[in-house]
Amino acid sequence: MTGDRARPAVETRGISKAFGGVAALDTVDFEVRWSEVHALVGENGAGKTTLCNILAGIYRADAGRVVVDGAERDFRSPAHAIDAGIGMVHQHFRLVEPMTVAENIHLGWPETPGVVSQRTLNERTERFMGEMGLRVDPTAKIWQLSVGEQQRVEILRVLARGARVLILDEPTAVLTAKEAEELFAVVRELAAGGLSVIFITHKLREVLAVSDRLTVLRHGIREITRPTEGATASEIARLMTGEERVLDVEHRVVTGDPALELRGVSTLNDRGIAALRDVDLTVRSGEILGIAGVSGNGQTELAEVICALRGMEAGSITVDGADIASMSVRAVTDSGVGHIPEDRIGMGMVTSAPVKDNAVLHSYWTEQFSQGLTLNRQSVIDFARKLVEAARVQTRSVFATAGQLSGGNQQRLVARREALAADRLLVAAHPTRGLDVNAAQEVRSTILDRRDSGCAVLLISDDLDEVLLMSDRIAVIYEGRIMGVFEAAEADREHIGLLMGGHSITGAVA
């Protein structure tokens, strides 16, 4: 398929695509040249992945044309796209876990011999890896590999099929910093060898580090395509977000009554290992207490014990003086505690139920929505409409299922619902994770509104910038212990960073 090197490797003309009545792409023109790394940039929900899924034959466009190396194509399945030389590495890997690396690379590949043994598969894989200069143990099972290695298997698989255009969907989202650097080197090398790489990302540093040209999408519309050279991060950011509203947070020193008190709380994680060790915490009405820490140091369990979702080994938790140890989850909710859970889809909503039902998931039994055994349908619908509007959830109607919403919209819905439910205490676990800049600002404003109206907020986030921005006081958690608590004014970024890494104040490792 390598014809004229001067004409584009791939181009789209006027591509449109809608999901559930909401436009994901609106007449998008896009063009990738041979031998270039082309960054496709935009916020969550801007349409980057949708565009590439169309190029890779996963979705079919509602309107518009796809032209590959000068020839118009209509991909009805990924197989067609592969035949045309377009291969995609998805954000969520499409690998068969119980199978080996070699088997995964040879899966669905017409060039795989009809009769195979593990040995021939391994030998073929070795040879191929040698040619491409990428290595993974061919005999390893996928579930034994690190995420970075799994990604390499995906790339190898796409290249094995003779892909000339490689699409990488947010490839660094799951990688460590070192793995990301290695990936950049691989990508540069592949492009130098004549391939085209489409690099989907919303991280500006990566755009500048890896791409030759870039295209910015916003709300399904192409904003610009330009060479990366000469572009600045702030310029790209402006195009991605439109006009950015910067949050101005006033930190306060609150001396009111404690709304939430933890005394000597210890608990176990799902594997039966100590997750919280003797935790003392106080959150006062009208203040935000931020929990800073690296993921997996007990934050999840902390949110769960407070919401009565997890039992305690020792200690006591009181909300407004009432001990929650003897309370059911519903009683805790009824006493004015809202919870934006870490796992929005699993814990926060019922994806197969309509938006309207999800809007009242934690309150359908209250007098506002039900009389005796019956649900007051109209009041549920009215409430849901108001909620959807206030949270700016993009949905066809409140009767669409929650599963049809994009991730960002699901999150806005849950965050707003819980914030409304929280009179006394809001537990917000990673409330802006995975959200684009604007949606994150909205969720943060919602949380600040609750604080200003006298609600206590426990903010858990592994984004230190967010914790520093939002919190009135900051507690650092490490291996289930509170390492220190600071007023926002005296919080020192470097000091907190050391505590998060387990270094105590004297410099010793805890």
């Binding site: 996963i58 979705y59 399945s77 197989a79 998805h90 499409r94 899966l107 590949w109 795989t112 009769v115």
Partner: protein, 328 residues
């Protein structure tokens, strides 16, 4: 003296268990084919009935004189039922459990209705026993183990070897397993999930139908209502017991087939319990296969609970989960 009696009982058990288990073996292989690509067909019981009744019809009403042809007709009838099932659950993504149960009950009803005028009519068109190589002595022990009709050899040797080879030694088998484990991954590399799932559901149904045909063309050998008598359910249990591996299905089918035969032997010999005044053990014995299945399921589950991964015997990850590409 006592030894001789025990030996005698054992040999008669084996002699009847091997052909009795061949039905289970064929149905289990059929069920396994579908499950390997992620389609759980709970309708095995109905498919056995359909396969059996159409073979009976072929022999008694259409004058078919070859047992092979009669079996083929039974297989095609079951395949047709399997195609309807596959269209419902694969193309229209209906619940595999619900449609499967409907097929089980509907298939039993349909076959009983079609068999109504043929109850008890003996069938003369039978598979004949063969003496492999013609070199073996004709004594009790040898005949119990080795003198069987060709279908027995196909079910216990031919099918498992072919299926093992396809699953573990071919490109085709690799793709098959991928469809059952992670259809999105298979789809992403251009394997048609829908096509493969329909094809193997139908082929599997045909094999189960062959099991039904074998019942009436060999060891029953006559039509009677509810002919499968639980063998379809047992076949599903065997697949779990075997951990979706063709070789283990042989062991599973023999084990389960023996339990079924025990139940008949117990009835025939009037074995009873010395307590509770129970003079008939057969109901207890007919329960045994399912108790063993529970244990077979709990052992790997328990091992996982203890922190040990038992991946090789785990069900295909996408079993009974409909696949749709354009969902979000």
């Amino acid at each position: 003296m006592i030894l001789a009696i025990i030996e005698n009982a054992f040999l008669s058990l084996i002699g009847s268990a091997i052909p009795a288990s061949a039905v289970v073996m064929l149905a289990a292989t059929g069920a396994m084919l579908g499950e390997r690509v992620g389609v759980l067909n709970l309708g095995q019981e109905g498919l056995i009935g359909i396969g059996a009744v159409y073979s009976v019809i072929a022999v008694l009403s259409w004058g078919v004189e070859s047992p092979w042809l009669a079996m083929l007709i039974g297989m095609m009838a079951a395949a047709a039922a399997g195609l309807i099932f596959a269209l419902c659950v694969v193309a229209f993504r209906a619940s595999q459990v619900l449609v499967g149960l409907a097929l089980a009950l509907g298939g039993i009803g349909l076959s009983n209705q079609l068999g109504v005028n043929r109850n008890g009519t003996p069938i003369q068109t039978l598979f004949r026993e063969v003496n492999p190589g013609g070199v073996l002595d004709d004594n009790d022990a040898v005949s119990a183990f080795f003198f069987h009709d060709p279908v027995v050899y196909i079910a216990y040797v031919g099918l498992p070897v072919v299926l093992w080879f396809v699953l573990f030694r071919t490109r085709h088998g690799m793709n098959m397993k991928a469809v059952g484990e992670n259809p999105a991954a298979a789809d992403a590399v251009g394997v048609s999930v829908t096509g493969w799932r329909i094809f193997y559901s139908v082929l599997g149904a045909a094999l189960t139908g062959a099991g039904g045909a074998y019942m009436v063309l060999s060891f029953t050998p006559t039509w009677s209502p509810d002919i499968a008598r639980g063998r379809g359910w047992v076949a599903l249990a065997v697949v779990i017991f075997a951990g979706w591996r063709p070789g283990w299905a042989v062991a599973g089918a023999l084990l389960y087939g023996s339990m079924i035969s025990l139940d008949t032997t117990a009835q025939a010999r009037g074995w009873g319990l010395p307590f509770m005044g129970a003079s008939d053990l057969s109901f207890f014995l007919s329960m045994l296969p399912y108790v063993v299945t529970l244990v077979a399921i709990l052992i790997p589950a328990g091992a996982v609970k203890l922190g040990r991964r038992v991946r090789s015997t785990a069900a295909p990850a996408a079993l009974a989960i409909p696949y749709a590409r354009e969902e979000r």
